[in-house]
Symmetry: D2
Subunit: 354 residues, 4 copies
């Protein structure tokens, strides 16, 4: 049994961590902090938890966390906040699982470039020691670290869909287009007027179409796999769904590549993965991935199609942004790190339709 603390527990991702950890056989949640709602019952902010948890939110403080005798701390904080917590947690011997971007990028200068920090990341050694918590790519590092940087939601979907092609040198790396479609819950508990129902239903609109921060992670991870620089032209769009990310990757093939070549690349990399399905089927309802088939789970569904006319490939991936894109992937990495079954607390099948 591990004692867990959630910092930033009143947000959408904090709520999802609470929900999932309540069903985890090896975890007891001992504290959940919220600056805004400290003193309030958790179920008043997360009404789905009514009847399942009687804890109240507490004020966030390192001292309180240490006193709570937690083994692991999940940080669901805004970017730029986690970096103030993680060094102290690690110093005290705790496992830090950070859902912000603060430890995702290996190059300290990238925080200046992509996150507009006034200076490079102040803890380059911790950056090196941190594992990029995408289990299918970094399982060994996740096992051996005290800092897990949970990938961005759109980065997760993008990297998983393209990794086999990049690793196998099957596509041109100088111009990979990633066109993402994202759900509303990604905006977190503090939205803007554009998150109101009447602005956000039945909509498609671009969101930071150039220079989106997740580009940095995607290029970092794909370049690592390729062994050379990969350029990703990344453009996300807000669409009408509450949960889910759908990523479409468009790339030119590097040579004469056949459909069996593509199958081999995907099967070779993901054939034994518990949380990745290759969805490509001529029969049945589902010919390709869809957010509808992954919502509520930690799955990544990937698929692809070859276009011989233009010697190009289109790849797809779908995830639940709050589970595989955040809380679920955090717990999957936690399980790996602690030696628990990788799917402990994550054995959900999508309630279809929902």
């Amino acid at each position: 049994m591990r004692r867990a603390c959630i910092i930033g527990a009143s947000g959408v991702i904090g709520g999802e961590l609470l929900r999932l950890l309540l069903g985890h056989n090896n975890v007891e949640v001992v504290c959940a902090t919220s600056r805004r709602f400290a003193g309030e019952f958790i179920y008043r902010v997360h009404p789905n938890l009514r009847g399942f948890i009687n804890l109240k939110f507490t004020q966030p403080s390192i001292d309180a966390v240490l006193k709570s005798e937690s083994d692991v701390v999940f940080l669901a904080l805004p970017h730029g906040e986690s970096v103030k917590w993680v060094p102290k947690l690690v110093e005290s011997g705790l496992l830090a699982i950070d859902l912000s971007a603060d430890f995702r990028l290996k190059n300290p200068d990238d925080y200046v470039k992509w996150y507009h920090w006034p200076q490079p990341h102040p803890y380059p050694d911790l950056l090196k020691a941190a594992a990029y918590g995408l289990p299918e790519l970094h399982r060994d590092e996740i096992k051996a670290t005290k800092v897990i940087a949970v990938p961005g939601c759109m980065a997760t979907a993008s990297i998983v869909s393209l990794a086999p092609l990049v690793k196998g040198h099957l596509i041109n790396n100088d111009f990979i287009v990633v066109d993402a479609k994202i759900a509303s819950s990604g905006a977190g508990a503090e939205g803007t007027v554009l998150d109101y129902h009447w602005h956000r239903t039945h909509v498609v609109r671009p969101y930071q179409p150039v220079g989106h921060r997740h580009t940095a992670e995607i290029e970092q991870e794909l370049s690592l796999l390729a062994g050379s620089q990969v350029n990703v032209a990344f453009t996300p769009h807000a669409v009408d769904m509450v949960r889910g990310i759908f990523v479409t990757g468009h790339a030119r093939l590097s040579g004469s590549i056949s459909e069996p070549d593509l199958w081999r690349a995907y099967r070779g990399m993901y054939g034994n993965e518990r949380f990745i399905r290759i969805v490509k089927d001529k029969a049945g309802l589902a010919h390709y991935p869809s957010v509808k088939y992954v919502v509520g789970t930690n799955m990544v569904d990937v698929g692809f199609e070859l276009d011989q006319r233009l010697n190009r490939v289109v790849v797809f991936s779908a995830i639940d942004n709050l589970i595989r894109g955040a809380a679920g992937q955090a717990i999957q990495s936690f399980n790996i790190n602690q030696g628990f079954p990788e799917d402990e607390g994550l054995r959900f099948i999508t309630p279809y339709p929902v």
Copy 2:
């Protein structure tokens, strides 16, 4: 371990039974029938199950069920079909859990009146022996029977919301208005043009506003509790949601009733129930029930409000129509019947938001 067979497994409710039973620790699904899809992999019709089940649909036949050595048979068939199966299953000593209406009404003549059967129900003894599978009202009968008639989805929500008031004689029984709002998945896998997306999104439209069949069950169960005839003016509406039923009951109070009286009625009846929450809170996000807080679970959330100006009460309830309104309630009753923990296979917390 019980061996289970699902008859009518390619429909929406059949799919939900499969999904839930795959996560049930005491059940093994050994057959799943579909006239239309016999021979096809189940995951091709229920794409959420891809990777979780390798069974194929088989043709429905009593012989095949008996050969399968099943202990329990879940029937997710259209009304009028189950009645052909259940007597034979019972004869062979199997437990029959029927999700159609064929064994819900106690009075054989009611099938003529409400379901337009050409003659009264042909198995009045089986009707008597069957339990109306609403566990919070009929737990003892469910334990002792071989035929469980799973209540209608809208009936479940309506009965649970009004039962404490009717049982406590707190309202006038001659004219109780039940205004229901229902999700699209209730239409099943075979919809009509009105179930298409563009007809069904952002819509409110009445659906069989007079004479809806669930009225019969609601009146039967409430009259039983009241000890006299209860009249229910039931009118459902199609609204834009995939899962969920929301029921609003409007009634006049029978005398001078206070809010604490109402609390006592609801707490007295449901205070210890695992799957019923009373949602009535001045603070927090959720002042009353909402489908958003029950989707994906077997919960019934109930609430109420007193209107002293008109000496009336408004009651609310919300359920997931496919779980508490069908597959989940079936499993809850199955658990009771078999002596398993009542929430085995049903320990979900709503993924909020979804």
Copy 3:
């Protein structure tokens, strides 16, 4: 040509007034005020108007309105604000069309009771002189007044659906249930967290289920028609749609009433109305009203069904909350008052599907 000014033009209703008046052949919009956006181009707040209007918002002030040489002023202000404007406008001889509740109730004390004003309405004479701007009920008064109080959106739908029954003494007036379903845009431009997309899609939840302010208008108008007190048990619900109100009325019949009696009541009252359709059809797609068939128009669709078993009637009505529930009805009344064709600027047919 009339010169018009819109006070409170940056809100959702203000935007709808602008849109509709831009298409009105006898109106020129000469000013549009907004405290928050004064100085900003209107199309930056109402992106649909880009390319159609080059005006900027101005600060609201009586002096500016008078200087603008407006003939008519549309007030789309919060309740309690219009009352500060209307007396001065009337004094200056302008026509005031108020979309708030400030001049809807005839009894000055009702503002204390329903709107929690500290004292009765300060202008009882203006209340008397004001017309309740529901054209099908008050056409003559609308013609003759300088103050038009545009009805509440839910009140409009409720009154129109029940008026023929109440006027014809066909139902019991002591307990009429009105169960309303409302769209998100009614919340206006300043929503709360519960108006965010993820809280508001696929939802049904009650909203002020007891004591809602529109009850006062509904009872006032129905009592006027009945010649005696009518009691309305009014309970609205938030559902997933952007535009639209659907009202279901449940009542007991006052005696032995037949379906032809009901037809006569509705046809007698609305048979010649340009903006009211009776939707009750055994054939075709639409058996009853639906918000889908009125969105984008000034229509009220009404329908009904008789339940002989319980000697009750169910009535339905559907409107576009921003047009017939606000801006459109305001313009319809304006047209009547000014002697323009009643449908000038309002000749839209619902874009179906939308």
Copy 4:
């Protein structure tokens, strides 16, 4: 006054033609055919038209059309059907406006390649004489023809968004990615199970991601503008909206191109167009196009963003698929051909929000 006949009037596009032509000052609809609904009142199939039209559907036949003394025939038929009608209509001197694909492609062999016809188009001369009815590109040909081939909905959005870049030789033409997002109403009145509400809400799923037929039109028109072959990697996706198409184009710049260069290209081509808006704004709600701002109108909103890091450009366009993508564009071309004001019958402003 022109007399118009609509062939295939019971479908979604047929209904939209009816609705728009009912508001056109120079058109009288004299016949509307439907094989399936002949003899039925039109408003029973298109409930939005109740009260606005009393015509019944008739059986489709050339003779009946000729007898109707129509001047213009709008064909809203499936691909492969119009080709049987158009030659005869032209022979009889009527104006044929074809909303299918049968006269869009100039190369007769392309019908074999993209539409799988068993042999090349049988009327190559008519193909040549037909105008591709995208008014902003082919206004003169539209004026002078008797056959107008209304462009595909996704083709319209794609071509308009990319035309200025291709015409100005600002991007590389060998690999232009067009990632489209489409509404459900595009499926027409005869959908499949995947068009049901529960499959189609809150979804993103690819739809014919390779080899989609609209690719042929897009490449034809862009190549014409470029003066050389343009390759378009086109992949559409079903998303949750009823009306609307959003197109995102991803391309590499052909050289050192600045933002003012891009502005010049778009303003130069579209600066005076009644139905095209360039939406690119740092202030206000709308920084880029969105389907929300064009629904219900004949507008095309276009926008773009420069990504200097990768020397690429992203372009956007949004249309209403049933108006600008079908019925509205047909009427715009009709107006041009007949010398009516180009916006006659099309002067709608988006009802926002809807």
